[in-house]
């Protein structure tokens, strides 16, 4: 492991925190108090954490509908996220966004689009803004393999390559767009691998190994900060749950026999825990204490959300325009 031990433990803690939040949402979703369609990122935690660990708080990210992990990994406020799931006034979008539209501008998270691929050009524009203002910030867009079907990715990458913008395109290839497998939609995967590196640095990494993701992200960030241009990182991962909602969708039968079990053996959180234990970087007592702290934090955030006021009708028309 090339990542310093303390740092790796911290990455694990962040992944575990994201996983724990997802599982808490799953556990409570049937109560129908979170009246918003959730898109869980269980199985994809290493991508968000690995990429955001390479970023500074003032770097930008543009997220998507499956964005709980990106939000927490970038340092977004947990209470405001949970309150948004409960559509409360204290939510990060004051009950206007729901699960798919998280934001925390204080930490460079400028929003999330649920139009597939919608955040890609916005992140490109943020990169342009960094360049034009002479800032050494970078801009990251997280998108799935479904968004890689969209033409806007080509358009955006072309501009980023043309102007050598400090933008990092993170493709989270979780194998499915709703129920459609990548192979039924793309002729042999993404076309953005294999370009000359001076035009576009591309990498294909195991998205379930946080160290691999982090290493690719650090290289991309360094390249972007020094004005050398954009990078394209494909993280191979797996959506362990259904497209939307809580729980497994294995009963739908669109996934090949044994596929879920195969990927469960590669669970990024469980795997890292085992490796940390084996390497003696973490013991079971410390791990349990970590889980306890996270559980308490979640208890507090859920209690805060449930106790928070719901927006009233008098707030309906606020914020249509910024003043």
């Amino acid at each position: 492991m090339s990542v310093a031990p303390a740092r790796l433990v911290e990455l694990y803690r962040q992944m575990l925190r994201i996983r724990s939040l997802q599982e808490r949402i799953e556990a409570e979703y049937h109560l129908d108090e979170m009246k918003t369609p959730v898109h869980l990122c269980i199985g994809q935690e290493a991508v968000a954490v690995g990429v955001c660990a390479a970023l500074r708080p003032d770097d930008y990210i543009m997220s998507n509908h499956r964005g709980h992990g990106h939000y927490l990994a970038k340092g977004g406020d947990l209470r405001a996220l949970v309150a948004e799931l409960f559509c409360r006034s204290t939510g990060c979008s004051q009950g206007r966004g729901g699960s798919m539209h998280l934001v925390d501008a204080r930490v460079g998270h400028l929003g999330s689009s649920s139009i597939v691929g919608g955040g890609i050009p916005l992140a490109t524009g943020l990169g342009l803004a960094c360049r034009m203002q002479g800032l050494d910030r970078v801009s990251v867009t997280f998108f799935g393999d479904g968004a890689a079907d969209e033409g806007v990715l080509y358009e955006s990458l072309n501009l980023a390559m043309l102007k050598k913008l400090p933008v990092i395109y993170v493709l989270e290839n979780n194998q499915y767009s709703v129920c459609s497998p990548v192979a039924s939609r793309q002729a042999g995967g993404s076309v953005f691998h294999g370009l000359e590196p001076q035009r576009l640095l591309s990498a294909k990494v195991d998205g379930n190994q946080v160290e691999e993701v982090l290493a690719a992200a650090e290289q991309a960030v360094a390249r972007a900060r020094s004005g050398e241009g954009p990078s394209f990182i494909e993280c191979l991962t797996y959506r362990m749950r259904g497209h939307a909602g809580a729980g497994s969708d294995a009963h739908l039968g669109y996934r090949p026999e044994g596929e879920i079990a195969r990927w469960e053996r590669r669970d990024p959180v469980v795997n890292l825990a085992e490796r940390l234990l084996a390497a003696g970087l973490l013991d079971r007592a410390t791990m349990a204490a970590m889980e306890e702290v996270i559980a308490a934090e979640l208890d507090e955030a859920f209690a805060f959300a449930k106790a928070s006021p719901l927006p009233g009708a008098e707030e309906l028309a606020l914020h249509l325009f910024s003043e």
């Binding site: 501008a105 139009i115 050009p121 916005l122 524009g125 803004a129 034009m132 358009e155 072309n158 249509l320």
Partner: protein, 347 residues
């Protein structure tokens, strides 16, 4: 394209809105260019982008040679990728800049709909004001000389429908400059839809930087008998119609809303209180569009003021034909507005 043959250059009437302009007459495109020049000079956050903004034609003259003064970092050509580039402009706005993105024809805005409608127009509301999108988009309606169905569409009705998007449609050089500066200063996405025929005008335009507030319309001509609301280039046709009507003893009040969102409803309702009759003249299709919305405004908020049904003058619900005989039949103008008024007053 010999636009000179479509319409001779003409001086705008002095509508009295130029104030202390000192009588300087400026070419319509030069007025827009001056607004951009001043904005670029006064605010380092402003930049101009779009396919061809730095070419010799310079967007009908509106951006000509600005790149020579401000460099291609701030005035730059773009790939022909309207979807992404609209998002790039919006993202740059979120990142603290003030982009002005020139789209040439509104027809190409259909390629930008996702980023404009799904993203830029919703970002403030969807995130409760956490992120602003101070973005200006600009497009110019083509008309005449066989522009045909995909280079002439007046699409204000479609964009008028979108909450979160401000919409301006100037018809004078004074307003073209002032609305551009107002749009750049605004913290929200603003779409400016120009009309190619307006570019044949010269109007009284002060040299100093000034803004025309979005949401404030103008009375182009006062009258007591009928209110004519003219949108974009049709405001100029309405003025010509009013002059003809005056020769026939009818005093028409001509209103130019100048911006559609926000719409100066009071201007229209106050005028209706005086005249009781309304003709709406729009440069676009009739069904579900701007003229329908203004007619609905009169019905909902001014029914007791109306002495007669509302009349609308607009393009027929058809794609634009290329051939000039068909084009002539397609486009309404002052004559159709006069006829509509006469129908109301002398049924």
């Amino acid at each position: 394209m010999p636009w000179t043959k479509i319409r001779a250059e003409l001086d705008e009437p002095d509508y009295g809105h130029a104030g202390d302009g000192g009588g300087r007459r400026l070419d319509y495109a030069a007025a827009i260019r001056e607004a951009l020049d001043q904005a670029l000079s006064l605010d380092p956050r402003v930049f101009v982008m779009g396919q061809g903004v730095d070419d010799p034609a310079g967007m009908f003259g509106a951006t000509r040679d600005l790149h020579l003064k401000y460099g291609r970092e701030r005035v730059f050509d773009t790939p022909l990728a309207e979807t992404a580039l609209t998002g790039v402009a919006a993202g740059a706005a979120m990142g603290g800049l003030r982009p002005v993105y020139f789209h040439n024809r509104p027809d190409f805005l259909f390629l930008a709909m996702d980023q404009l409608v799904n993203h830029a127009a919703k970002w403030s509301y969807m995130f409760a004001g956490a992120v602003k999108v101070p973005l200006v988009l600009w497009a110019c309606i083509g008309r005449g000389w066989g522009s045909a169905a995909q280079h002439s569409q007046a699409l204000q009705g479609i964009f008028f429908h979108v909450p979160g998007l401000k919409l301006a449609m100037p018809s004078t050089a004074f307003d073209a400059k002032g609305l551009m500066l107002a749009a750049i200063a605004d913290d929200n996405p603003v779409l400016i839809i120009e009309h190619r025929l307006n570019f044949r005008q010269k109007g009284l335009t002060p040299e100093r930087p000034y803004t025309v507030p979005l949401g404030k319309g103008a009375v182009r001509r006062a009258g007591d008998d009928v209110t004519i609301v003219g949108i974009s280039q049709m405001a100029n046709e309405a003025y010509l119609a009013a002059e003809e009507l005056a020769r026939q003893g009818i005093q028409a009040e001509v209103l130019d809303p100048r911006s559609l969102r926000p719409l100066d409803e009071d201007l229209i309702l106050d005028s209706l209180a005086k005249t009781g009759r309304l003709v709406v003249a729009d440069s676009a299709w009739k069904t579900g569009g701007v003229s329908a919305e203004i007619a609905a405004l009169a019905a909902e908020k001014g029914l007791d003021l109306l002495k007669a049904p509302v009349r609308r003058v607009s393009c027929p619900d058809l794609p634009t034909p290329a051939g000039y005989t068909l084009e002539r039949a397609y486009y309404p103008g002052a004559a159709q507005i006069v006829a509509a008024v006469l129908e109301l007053l002398r049924p």
